[in-house]
Amino acid sequence: MSESNTVVAVSGLRKEFVVYKKTGRLKREKTVVAAVDGVDLRIERGEMLGYIGPNGAGKSTTLKMLTGILTPSAGEVRVCGLEPVPRRIALTRRIGVVFGQRSVLWWDLPLRESFDLLRHVFRVPADEHAARLRRCREMLDLDEFADTPVRQLSLGQRMRGELTAALLHGPEILFLDEPTIGLDVVSKQAVRSFLAETARRGDTTIVLTTHDLADIERLCKRLVVIDHGHVVHDGTLDALHHRYGSRRQVVVDLEDPWSGDLDLGGAVGEIDGEDPRRVTFSLTNGASTAGELVARLATTVGLRDVSIVEPDIEDVIARLYATAR
């Protein structure tokens, strides 16, 4: 194994929180909550990974441990080859972090000055800093509000500033905890394109948590789903669809009402709705392709219209969250 290509290596990661519940006038009951409960994870250089899960699943807690600001209760963690908590200061130069609800910018300074201070704090050579800042300014349209104090920025503007701040020291890996939370469609698009472009350049690894599944569809090849502190899926979005049997569907409008007795190579037609001429076929893996199905239909029954419906990501995620419970 070459250490240089594994950016994150996690095994048996746990975090327990002690919560006190009031049970009487003076009595408090102590309970231990495992927010992260045995997570194993390996992330290679250049990957773009979606780390998702329902509210309270343990995503933020995991990211805090990976970035060195929370001590794990148990387990092994290496990020860029370093143990995050003891090597926090060294690690900060090699990672970039955006916590959607938090700001790393100086509240009462304009963005421009925050960026300049970060250059000093991280001791980034002026030319590298300028080059990175130029790219962010262009892609994220920072110039309009670069002179406004951070406290007066809108959420979307601030988030663009945060992304820039996270990248100015040239991190190897970017941890983003809900970077699109609360943004409008246009800002979300801007952030997504920016991240996609950052990933395309190749050497920045990105780990992203989000509740916006469009982020995932647009950005993440690999999906790690966590629930109650456990990893319940680790693979591509396609693998997830496969696992939950969500399929592409072919919806056809026929000349005549559907009788349902044709052999269509494993595809089963269903009429949903009033119209007996509108039939929905689910394509099982291994059975006929959409092309074959349509060709067969065209030769056997009259075909008026065809549309192909991709599996719904919300649907499959909802199913996953429901079964994991």
Binding site: S60, K64, I69, I89, Q101, W106, D108, H120, V121, D177
Partner: protein, 263 residues
């Protein structure tokens, strides 16, 4: 890095003009009230109280009023607020110990305060009240040194008070304790020389508080001559070293039990 942060700290306060003006007028009004009380008391005592002449008391009061804002003895809870809200992550995601980043910013703030909040009350007092200007030219740089030490020391004390937020989350109790102790024991309300000698000695050597106010003002009024000035500065240096050692130690402990709030 330090210089850039200090500049930012300076600018940050220079943008709050109204707050500066309001603080300044409060300081001057309270300075005048203290002046009337102490001068009356001084006159009743025949012109000299515990070794302070009335002009020396004037300097003591006006320098003290200015120091209060320059060392920022009260009202700094930025770090604990950030611990409570979880925003402290931003401080921990930088490749520098937060003590240094906060200190650098605070030095910028103190520079701004020294120019306005210290200089103006002193000039005001010198203009309208009995005022003792140091006789020896050396006293001016010595006062500068003593002032810087007071700023450094006060920052360490405030930072320590704020660090308790890692354990307590609500630090209002600690802050009240600090405010009361610092107010009375630093010599802000009255020169510690008014106290019985043994008590004053315990406070001056055994606690950091007099190093915050009493000593810089004593250096300014040349109490005890050069030897007295150097002795006070020596005690300030010692307490500053001790307090920073404590701050770094406590912060290391805090990091171990750190729980970042919110997600």
């Amino acid at each position: 890095m330090g210089a850039a942060l200090a500049r930012a700290g300076f600018r940050r306060y220079s943008t709050y003009r109204q707050a500066t003006l309001a603080g300044l007028s409060t300081n001057i009004v309270f300075g005048m009230l203290r002046m009337y009380v102490l001068v009356a008391a001084g006159a009743a005592a025949g012109g000299v109280m515990a070794g302070y002449t009335v002009p020396q008391l004037g300097t003591y009061i006006w320098v003290g009023q200015g120091l209060l804002a320059t060392i920022l003895m009260w009202g700094w809870t930025e770090l604990s607020d950030r611990v409570r809200s979880g925003d402290v992550v931003a401080d921990l995601l930088r490749p520098v110990n937060p003590v240094w980043t906060y200190l650098a910013t605070d030095l910028g703030r103190a520079g701004h305060a020294a120019l306005i909040r210290l200089l103006v009350p002193v000039l005001f007092g010198a203009l309208f009240f009995p005022f003792y200007w140091p006789r020896e030219p050396l006293s001016y740089p010595l006062f500068g040194v003593s002032l810087v030490l007071a700023v450094l020391l006060c920052f360490a004390c405030r930072y320590l008070v704020n660090l308790t937020a890692f354990w307590l989350l609500d630090i209002r109790g600690v802050v009240s304790l600090w405010m009361a102790a610092a107010g009375v024991l630093s010599g802000l309300y009255f020169p510690l020389a008014f106290l019985p000698g043994w008590l004053a000695a315990i406070l001056q050597y055994g606690t950091p508080f007099p190093s915050l106010m009493q000593f810089p003002t004593d250096v300014a009024v040349e109490r005890g001559g050069l030897a007295g000035q150097l002795e006070r500065i020596g005690v300030q240096v010692a307490w500053t070293a001790v307090m920073y050692a404590v701050v770094f130690y406590v912060q290391r402990r805090a990091m171990r039990k750190l729980v970042i709030q919110g997600g």
